[in-house]
């Protein structure tokens, strides 16, 4: 087990280096314009641009630039400096992370509760009306873009601009001060973000459950006279949920990496996703680059957690 974990950690580190090389290539080598100008912000003059060029090491050979870049990222956790906002990118990202964590945690709870429940019921009552209705609904949610769902939900349910005002609307999270206010302001975003994902999870869970229910050990359990509820809960679900763990790890990593960009933008949640949206809008390359790397870190990290969890759940994995 120990060797397996070390191997996964080393592979994760290697992956981060590969990502850093790709990011470096995209942001330093590919741009047709001077990277210093692209990073310089609005009114920067030639002298300031020259200083940025020097501080980024752009006046050095490419390999040296990469070493400087890697050293800054991995040794100092320094993602660069945003001349748009005049603050270090790391500080920007950390200031936005709490809102993204709020969004992610709530949405994950909703989509797991909803997706797994619907998936299990659909699998157990395969081809029933409940199964068909839930799968059709899930298909609809998967097909609906998050930004569209968000805007529709605001139009319908936001307390200030909605037709049926129920929940706090756009920008409410930014002005919320207590935990309860924040939770209230997050209800709509959680539901919107969870809608499509819970639909995906429901379909995955259903497929996995159907596979599992056909296994010999399930038949054996039934033959032993176990109640159907016990068969499903103790034997089928425990086995069928394993691939969901993989999916969950990646999804959480991706969301924390700023991929809730549409939800955060529509609902004006000051998280990493909206930071990325703003950075794209104003061509703040350092921030985009920082969030990309930061996101890669999260994804690799959660992947590692999933791999280790998987090995714990399924001993066969450790020896492969």
């Amino acid at each position: 087990m120990g060797r397996y974990i070390i191997r996964r950690i080393l592979w994760g580190i290697a992956m981060l280096f590969i990502v850093s090389a790709v990011v470096f290539f995209i942001f330093y080598v590919l741009p047709s314009a001077d990277p210093a100008v692209l990073r310089a912000g609005r009114n920067a003059g030639p002298q300031q641009i020259a200083q940025i060029r020097h501080s980024l090491g752009l006046d050095k050979p490419i390999w040296q630039q990469y070493l400087i870049y890697v050293r800054q990222v991995f040794l100092h956790f320094d993602f660069g400096y945003s001349y748009q906002y005049n603050v270090p990118v790391r500080q920007l990202i950390f200031s936005r992370l709490p809102a993204t964590i709020w969004l992610t945690v709530g949405a994950v709870i909703i989509w797991l509760a909803l997706g797994l429940t619907v998936g299990i019921i659909s699998a157990v009552r395969r081809r029933s009306i409940v199964d068909r209705a839930s799968m059709t609904t899930s298909l609809a949610f998967i097909s609906a873009p998050v930004f569209w769902l968000g805007l529709v939900s605001l139009y319908l349910f936001a307390d200030d601009i909605g037709q049926f005002p129920i929940f706090p609307g756009q920008g409410s999270f930014a002005s919320a001060s207590t935990v309860f206010q924040k939770a209230g302001a997050m209800i709509l975003p959680w539901c919107v973000l969870a809608a499509a994902t819970s639909a995906v999870y429901a379909r995955y869970m259903r497929a996995s459950m159907i596979d599992t229910m056909g296994e010999d050990y399930i038949r054996t359990a039934r033959a032993k006279g176990l109640p159907e509820r016990t068969v499903i809960r103790r034997h089928a679900v425990r086995s069928a949920i394993t691939p969901i763990v993989t999916l969950l790890g990646l999804d959480v990593g991706i969301l924390l990496a700023g991929n809730a960009i549409l939800t955060e933008t529509v609902f004006n949640i000051p998280g990493v996703g909206r930071l990325l949206y703003n950075a794209i809008n104003v061509s703040d390359l350092t921030t985009i680059q920082g969030i990309t790397l930061f996101g890669a870190f999260f994804i690799v990290f959660f992947n590692l957690i999933v791999d280790i969890g998987y090995a714990y759940l399924d001993p066969r994995v450790r020896y492969t």
Binding site: Q48, N86, A174
Partner: protein, 622 residues
Amino acid sequence: MRSRSRLLGVFLPGFLAVVSIGLAACGSSSKTTSGSGSSSGASSSSSSGSAVSAELAKFPAVVHAPAGAKKGGTLTVLANADVDYIDPGAAYYQPTYTVDLAVDSPLMGWPPADTAAPQPLLASGQPAVTDGGKTITFKIKPNIRYSPPLGGGPGWSKPVVAQDVKYAIERGLLPGVPNGYLTLYFADVQGLAAAQAAVKKDPKKAPNISGITTPDSSTIVFHLSKPSAIGLIDALSLPLSSPVPEGYAANFDSKTPSSTYGEHQIDVGPYYISNYSPGKQIVLLRNPNYTAGSDFRPAYLDKVVIQQGFSDTNSAVSKILTGSDMVNFDFSATGQSLKTAATQYPKQLSLSPGGGNRYIAFNTTKPPFNNINTRKAVIAAANRVALRDTRGGALAGGLATHFIPPGIPGFQQAGGVAGPSGSQYDFIQHPTGDLSLAESYMKKAGYSSGKCSGNCTITMVATNVPPGSDTAQVAKAQFAALGFNVQLHPVEQAVMYTKFCSVVANEPNVCPNVGWIKDFNDGQAMIDIPFNGATVTGSPTNNSNWPQLNDPTINTALNSAKYITNPAQRAAEYGKIDDMVVALAPAIPWIWDYNSNVASKDVAPVINQFNALTDLSFTSLK
């Protein structure tokens, strides 16, 4: 609108694409509208005495705080995006000025109702202008103290001295304080060139500008090489001249490549910035070291929270109209939200002139628009009402008849709302167009049928997003009515400027989406750069004289007018030059934008006519 700052055109395209769907601006106003129109809404008192349009009268901007305005409370200001720079030395964006007007004290300032000339703010009185307009002496108020610093720390306990103002201006030359207008408006200050050379050698230390002297701690003197006092005094109303003590700031300013003073700034206005989260929010609190009554700002509110990220401005407008304690920041009510505000919440909507114009520029250097009669023909045929409808109709702005917009000295002298009179201006006197007049001009231009014949293909490069793209389509149809075959090329707004309209060699026949907004209320700030031939030669790759007008008479008049020190004469001269420009028909002026501001029903907003935005120091809660 397009900026006065040449730098902005180069470095701002991404920013502008987001922030200004319309046109660029230095000290630019808000996004989809930048205003103009009369400086007097029903309650405003414009010193320019401009006429009031029906829409401005219907939705007047309040420019005085109500009697017995309530003290206290928190105002929430909804913003789409962040300020351009939190450092007052670098700020060059009208919404940023809204913050600066509340927390900083430049030598001069703009009370909400004043549009003719700035009033003393940090200065204890009007400056003494001597030596034929070449020496300006300010006395500053005593016992002005700095706020606690943004981000915490020991701050600065000494009172403001004249040397702090000198340093504030000098640090604007540092590469880490990328000021966009210092070299433009302070060009005649003695020693500026030497200071620029010095900072190239040592970019970490603010250079001495020898033409700015401080004989004692309460006196600051500007020595000019030319009598351009009025322009400089106006420029001293911009945030750059707000005091910054060298002893406190030098360490932050020595950071390269960017000064960090903005994140540690100390303020002297009635408010100070207590929290700044870039892209998230700005919080202003009362400055505990500010002495009430020390200047014209009453400061009713206890706290102002500027929340950013409201990219869906329509729902933000709805939120403001239906909510409480809110106003808009860097966006205006436009389109449907403007109509909703006008019909359902008329008392919460105000229209203000924003000091800008929009026009369709002809390239006057190449056929067919190198012929003045061809240009006059197109202007005569233009349906400017239809063009204005592309931005929202009469609520969006006044119908332009010349270039200096209402509220700017020179507007009335140029003909006011009606525009220049006389038969030589007949081509601009038909708001919905006059095809027969247009055809007569086409005949004078050599087209015997009254319509273009032969090689009539012209190129037009326009923005590819509404409402600018709609304007281009309408313009295209109007050109076609005179027989022109218009090749319309829609591109991104930034590309339109940086690759085509602002690049002299690449400029198409027509640029339909250009315009200009003032830095401050002066004719020079409105028409000098856009129509001075020197602009074309001075910035061939970032030109803001889109018609490429290079008329020796107009150039001479512009170069002389900026040295006129008598305000009335100055306004008259710029009005006259405006008419001279119109007579040469370099462009179709079609709108003087209004800024449409909205406020919640429990807010008593005061709109500062300087930038047509909410003045946080005068606004109160009901």
